[in-house]
Symmetry: C2
Subunit: 216 residues, 2 copies
């Protein structure tokens, strides 16, 4: 099972590391980390710099495609070479997946027109502008497309996918191996649970961070 993950500058590292930490533990899994070109992509916030193993034209097929999100997704949604690659990959994948605003790229490529999908809660309007049907669930599966909500949801998505690919026992074994028995100290992980004040605070902080990235 070949898992291709798309890397790009200004991605959110947990969006891609969460699902790959799960999926790469499946027996027979192999991974290829794909980018616009070979080299390194960077997330200035966490300082993580990740190596890109293969350029778009070096990877033409995979069993599973993983598209993470992050501030950098806006640029990709206007990049015809990337959009073409997404369409070509999707033509032969067994599963096409996204985490967070990665679903905007699937939508920009035309994969989600009229299709139920999710994204980071703050990007629901953007997803709908691309013609997808925003669906307030952590993991949304429609046909062979699985979209996940914000950042940390990629772990849940990958366990869901593993159960589809290898059965429930495999997914449970890998859940145990990463000791995924979540115990967040607070219950503020969704807009409904966090309440309007925290939602406004986080939305404003994200807008500032996004515009700071653009002006670099």
């Amino acid at each position: 099972m070949l898992i291709a993950a798309l890397l790009f500058d200004d991605l959110t590292p947990l969006d891609v590391v969460g699902p790959l930490e799960v999926l790469a533990r499946a027996p027979g899994a192999d991974v290829v980390l794909v980018g616009r070109k070979r080299g390194t992509v960077r997330d200035p916030r966490t300082h993580f710099a990740l190596a890109v193993e293969a350029s778009l034209d070096e990877v033409t097929t995979a069993d599973v495609l993983v598209v993470p999100g992050g501030f950098g997704i806006d640029r990709l949604c206007a990049d015809e070479a990337v959009l073409d690659w997404i369409r070509r990959m999707h033509a032969t994948t067994r599963w096409t997946t996204s985490v967070c605003t990665g679903s905007l790229l699937l939508a920009a490529a035309g994969l989600l027109t009229g299709i139920a999908a999710t994204t980071h809660w703050a990007s629901r309007d953007a997803l709908e502008r691309y013609g997808a049907v925003y669906t307030e669930q952590r993991v949304v599966e429609r046909g062979k497309i699985i979209t996940a909500a914000g950042v940390s949801s990629g772990i849940d998505m990958a366990l869901h996918l593993l159960a589809r690919i290898g059965g429930e026992q495999l997914a449970k074994a890998i859940q145990l191996s990463i000791e995924y028995d979540p115990q967040p100290p607070f219950d503020a992980g969704s807009p409904a649970k966090a309440g309007p004040e925290l939602v406004s605070f986080v939305s404003a902080a994200a807008a500032r961070a996004r515009s700071a990235r653009r002006s670099r």
Copy 2:
């Protein structure tokens, strides 16, 4: 607030990416990714190759130290230069933290002798051999040392730590920004929940993976 994270070959990427995705979102946070030497560290399973920004002797102090785990931790526990660095850093940190088998390195450096701490469930005996008091909790805080259980627990640990550093509202805001509203499709994330059959299966698979890494 300077957060120093230790990177090394054969680390578990989610161990370090989980907490940094949380901690780096705090206002005024800065990160330095430290390794034995500048260059790149690799995890063969996920293919992630992470850039090391600074060598051990280039970083002498930080507010928060994050030590992840992974198969590579065994080599580090026998590496006097790394053990010395851990001791020197710990002398001035505000918080010294570990995820998964990262606690074995803290213990090997003598930081956990007689101290309650946790680690990945499969490494409890190893932690006790180093003189720590294994404690079956997801996050264990003793003085300024916070240890977390296996792999995915670093996200919970980082939210716990953020609440300590910046208060509950900050931790909740960042929980919302990474949409950390976990919904694992199964409830098999701890040995007690998964049951003895899955525990044996995962332990055997981990032993095979560990010995495969050693023979490379």
